[in-house]
Amino acid sequence: MKKHILTIDDEADIRELLREVLTIKGHRVSTAANAEQARKIVVEDPPQLIILDLQIEEGDGFVLIEEIKRLSSNIPILLLTGAVFDRDLVRDAIEKKVTRYLDKTASLSTIVAEIERMLVDAGAP
C-alpha cells in the first residue's frame, strides 16, 4: 500500500519537486498551498506524514501546526523551512512543536532519507 504524504508550501516549484521525488519513491503525494487546503486534506484523506513550511499562503505555519495537532494528533510533521535562525539554538524549541525539523538548504537525499525514517518510526505500512 502506498503511503500518503501531504506537502504544504507556498512555493509551487517546491511542492511539485517534492511530489515528483516522493512519487518516484513509491508514495502517494497530496499538496496544499494554504491552510484551508491542508485542513481539508487532513480531514478527508488523512496522510501518514505532513511536510510543512512555516511560510504558507494566507496563513501562519505555527498556527496550522496547532490546528493539525487538534485534528489528528498522531500524524508526524516534518518542518521544512528556510534557515532564518540558528538551527542548533532553536532545534529544541521547534521540535517541541513538530516531529522533526530540517532547513531547505539540506540536500534532497537527506530530506528523503529523513522522510523514510519518519514513516518507519510512525509504523506506516
Binding site: 519537486l17 515528483e20 518516484i24 534557515a83 539540506a106 534532497l108
Partner: protein, 388 residues
C-alpha cells in the same frame, strides 16, 4: 560451405538419375532385342518345320506314287498328288519366309535350288504317271529305263538337310548373341544400381556432415545469442542505474536551486521589510546595496548610490575632542568594531539635510572584514541646504 554441399548433393542426385535413366534405357533396349530375337527364332523354327514338312511330303508322295504305279488305283494316284501339292505349298511358303531376311539369304538360295530340284522331281513323277496310264507296268518300266532318276530324291534330301543345318546354325548364333546381350544388360543394370547405391551413400554422408555442421553452427549462434543477451541485460542494468543516478542528481540540483532561491527571496523579503535605511558598504565605504526604504525616504535611486562613497550622503558631526581626524566609519571598519546609534546627517536627493542616527555592523568572512551593514534611522525632518 552450405551452398557447396547443396550443389554437391544436387549434382550427385542428378548423376544417380542419369545412371538410372541409362539403366532403364538399356533394359528397355534389351527387352526390345529379346522380343525381336524371339520373333526371329520363331520364324527360323517355322522355316525348319517347313523344310522338314517338304521332306516328309516328298517321302509320302513318293510312296503313294510307287503304290499307284503297282496297283493303278486312282486313290493312290490322288494320294501322291495331294502329298506333292502340299510339299510344293510348303516349299513356296518357306521361300516366302526367307525372301526378305538378310540373315537367311543363304537359306533362301538353298530353297531356290530346292525349288528346281523338286520341280524336276515333279516333272519325272508326272511323266512316270503318264507312262503308267498309257502303257501300264511295261510303260513304267520303259520310263524308268529311259530316266532312272535315282539321285533326285537324294539331292532333295541333302538340300533340305543342308537348309535345316544352316537354319539351326543361325539359331545357335542367335542364341549366343542373346546370351551375351542378356549378360551385358544384367551387368549394366547391376553396375548402375551398385554405383547408385555408392552415390546414395555418399549423399547421405554429405547430408549427415552438413546436418552436423548446421547443428554446430546453430549451437554456436545460440551461445552467441545468450552471451549477447547477457551483455544486453548487464548493459541495461548499467544504463538503468546510470539513469537513476542522473535523475537523482538532476533532482538534487533542482532542489538545491529551489532551496537557495527560496532562501534568497526570504532574506530579501526580510531586508526589504525593514523601515530603517539599510545600506551595505564595502570596506572602502562604497555603497553596494540599499533597501527600498532608502529610495522611499531619501529620494535617491539605487543606480545613483551604488558604487558611490557613503561619505557623499552621510555626514558626521565634528569630533568634539578634536582627536579623530578620520571618518568614524573608516576607523570602525579598520578595527572591525561596531558603532551603535550615533548621530549624523543624511543628504536627501532634494538637497535637504535630514538628522539621523546610524549604526554600523562590520561583516566578517573567515576573520576578514569584507564590508559593513549601515542602518540609518531618520530622527528629524529635513532642513534645506543648497547642493554643492
Amino acid at each position: 560451405m552450405k551452398e557447396n554441399i547443396e550443389k554437391r548433393v544436387v549434382s550427385l542426385f542428378l548423376l544417380m538419375l542419369a545412371i538410372l535413366v541409362y539403366v532403364a534405357w538399356t533394359s528397355v533396349q534389351n527387352i526390345k532385342e529379346n522380343i525381336k530375337d524371339n520373333d526371329w527364332v520363331n520364324h527360323t523354327h517355322d522355316v525348319i518345320i517347313h523344310a522338314e514338312d517338304i521332306l516328309s511330303y516328298l517321302h509320302a508322295g513318293d510312296a503313294a506314287l510307287r503304290t499307284y504305279l503297282i496297283t493303278g488305283d486312282e486313290r493312290d494316284k490322288q494320294g501322291y498328288r495331294v502329298a506333292y501339292s502340299t510339299m510344293k505349298e510348303r516349299l513356296d511358303e518357306a521361300e516366302a519366309l526367307t525372301r526378305s531376311d538378310e540373315d537367311e539369304q543363304s537359306s533362301h538360295l538353298s530353297l531356290l535350288i530346292l525349288q528346281n530340284l523338286i520341280g524336276a522331281r515333279i516333272d519325272v513323277a508326272r511323266a512316270t504317271v503318264k507312262a503308267r496310264e498309257d502303257g501300264g507296268l511295261e510303260g513304267v518300266r520303259q520310263q524308268f529305263g529311259a530316266h532312272p532318276d535315282i539321285e533326285s530324291i537324294n539331292s532333295i534330301e541333302r538340300s533340305v538337310n543342308h537348309l535345316v543345318e544352316v537354319a539351326r546354325g543361325l539359331l545357335r548364333d542367335r542364341d549366343k548373341r542373346q546370351h551375351t546381350q542378356a549378360l551385358t544388360a544384367r551387368m549394366t543394370v547391376d553396375t548402375g544400381l551398385a554405383v547408385d547405391f555408392v552415390l546414395l551413400a555418399l549423399v547421405l554422408w554429405l547430408i549427415r556432415d552438413d546436418v552436423a555442421a548446421r547443428r554446430k553452427a546453430a549451437q554456436a549462434m545460440q551461445e552467441a545469442n545468450a552471451q549477447l543477451e547477457s551483455k544486453v541485460k548487464a548493459r541495461t542494468v548499467e544504463v538503468v542505474v546510470a539513469n537513476e543516478s542522473l535523475r537523482n542528481e538532476n533532482l538534487e540540483q533542482r532542489w538545491s536551486h529551489e532551496a537557495l532561491g527560496h532562501q534568497l527571496r526570504y532574506n530579501q523579503l526580510i531586508i526589504n521589510s525593514i523601515a530603517e535605511l539599510v545600506i551595505v558598504i564595502s570596506r572602502a565605504l562604497n555603497v553596494s546595496r540599499i533597501n527600498p526604504a532608502v529610495v522611499q525616504q531619501t529620494g535617491w535611486e539605487q543606480k545613483e548610490l551604488i558604487s558611490q562613497s557613503i561619505e557623499r550622503v552621510l555626514q558626521f558631526p565634528p569630533d568634539p575632542t578634536g582627536t579623530a581626524s578620520q571618518n568614524p566609519l573608516t576607523l570602525a571598519m579598520r578595527d572591525g568594531r561596531q558603532i551603535q546609534d550615533r548621530p549624523a546627517q543624511f543628504l536627501a536627493r532634494s538637497g535637504k539635510i535630514m538628522a539621523v542616527r546610524y549604526s554600523l555592523f562590520p561583516m566578517h568572512d573567515q576573520d576578514k572584514i569584507v564590508g559593513g551593514v549601515l542602518t540609518v534611522r531618520v530622527t528629524e525632518g529635513a532642513q534645506s541646504q543648497s547642493q554643492s
